[in-house]
Structures are given as C-alpha cells and as structure tokens.
Symmetry: C2
Subunit: 153 residues, 2 copies
Amino acid sequence: MLGRTYDGQNCSAARALELVGERWSLLIIRDALFRGMTRFSQFQRSLGVAPNVLATRLEGFVDAGLMTPRAYSTHPEHREYLLTKKGRDLQPVLLALTAWGDRWAAPDGPPVVLEHENCGGTVAPHTHCASCGPLPATASVRATPGSAIAAPS
Amino acid sequence: MLGRTYDGQNCSAARALELVGERWSLLIIRDALFRGMTRFSQFQRSLGVAPNVLATRLEGFVDAGLMTPRAYSTHPEHREYLLTKKGRDLQPVLLALTAWGDRWAAPDGPPVVLEHENCGGTVAPHTHCASCGPLPATASVRATPGSAIAAPS
C-alpha cells in the first residue's frame, strides 16, 4: 500500500489509490474477482510477481480489510485469501480499467470478456447522471465540495 | 509509465495500468478531468509532487497519446497539457475509484461531489449487464476468452 503518500489530497480517489495503487495490487484483485483465485500459488502462477512482493500485497489487503485470510491446511499451515465486501466492491474500478484498455490498448480485440455469472451477459461500466440518466464516458464532469467539506467543522 | 512491467499479462486492465498505474498518474488525470487543470504549475500546486516526477508523467502522457501539448507563451516558452479523447476516456476509472473511496475511505462523507457540467446532476458509475440491465457493484463476474484469444491465429 502507498500508505500516506497522498496525505495532502482530500480526495476519495487518492484514498482508494493509497490502498490499491501499488504495482500489482489491482491485478491481484482482478484475479480474485474475475478468476476466483484465493491462493498464493495461484496468484503467483498468474502474475509471475516476486513472492516477497505478492506476500506484502496480500498481507496489506488483509490489514486494509480488502481480503480475509482462511486456513485451508494446518500441517503445514497454509492460508488462502478471500475478498471481503470492501474488496469485491472494487469491481467497478477493474471494469472501467478493462473497458478503457479494450478501447485504447487492444489492437487485436479484447483479450477477455467479462460475463455476468448468472446469465452470461457481457458486463460493462456505464456513467450515470442523477438528472439526465446515462452519459457518455467523456461527458464534462466537474468536482464540487462534498459533505465532508461543506459540513460545519 | 510502467512500460512493459505487466508484459506477461494479456489483459486490458494490465495494459491500462501500464499507461496510468504509476504513482501520481491518475491524480494528474483527475485534476485535468474534474478541475480543468492544464498547466505544470497548477498540477504542482494541487499535488505537491516533485517537479521531476510531474514532468516525467506529463511527457509520458504525451508519448502515450493521453495528453497533447500546446504552447501558451513563447518568450519564455511555456506549454500546457490538454487531455485527448483517449485521456478523457479515463473518466470512468476515476469515477469508480472516487465512488469506492467515498464508500470505504471517507468516514466524514465524500470530500468531493462530481457533477455533470450541463445540469449539475451528481455523476456516478454503474455496472450494466447486456442481458439483465443494471447490476450491483458486487455482482459475480467471470473472465472468459475474448475475440483476441478466440480468433484463429
């Protein structure tokens, strides 16, 4: 985790990136979300990441409440890592990154299609305005102070 | 840019992170998207990032086609950085990170509200299934081979 790297930033995107902005973090979450991986060896095989980095990321996710460990063998002791609701809730971030990469960095077409498990339908991120309804991804959006700023201190 | 860090990953999310996964990258894009920033000095003031890091990021965005430079002064020469369509199209990624941070890392409430410039409506990311319609953010989604994998080589 980046920890307090973005300490000066009063911004939810910055807070999110402090928890999942390190190299490999979002790809580990991707494998857990879309490929059902839970075990160190699975993530290692999928990513080819250095074991010490992977161990640091997984323990960081546990500390941040994104994953919860569960023992699946006691002799020797092995544990797997299950996404919590907080971790699963990162799915829209991965959907958005995947959609962008499909449009701008996949000259041969999408390497992967993300399907709703219940029905097999293709899943994609949409942008929605509370007043106008669906918006194009490039609609003009501006930041205004939220309740944490607007509230009297 | 991470460059070929994720070279073994045939995945659009990994390709996207190679372009915008470095520290500060997505916060620079955020400031350009939601706060209309274009100039080195604006990003610097907003982020407090080291000037050499900021310069490297901005030039990397130009190389990657996410921003295009434009001179706004010739004596001395100064240029600003404008998001391209490819860059603006990262908006759903920032919306998703912000929404997640608002839910899970903003105990005092959202520091910022993202509004549609045309109407002032609040903008948020939604997940959509082509068969079922709107899905909760934590619906079960699985990765299956896409056209780049399924196509005969």
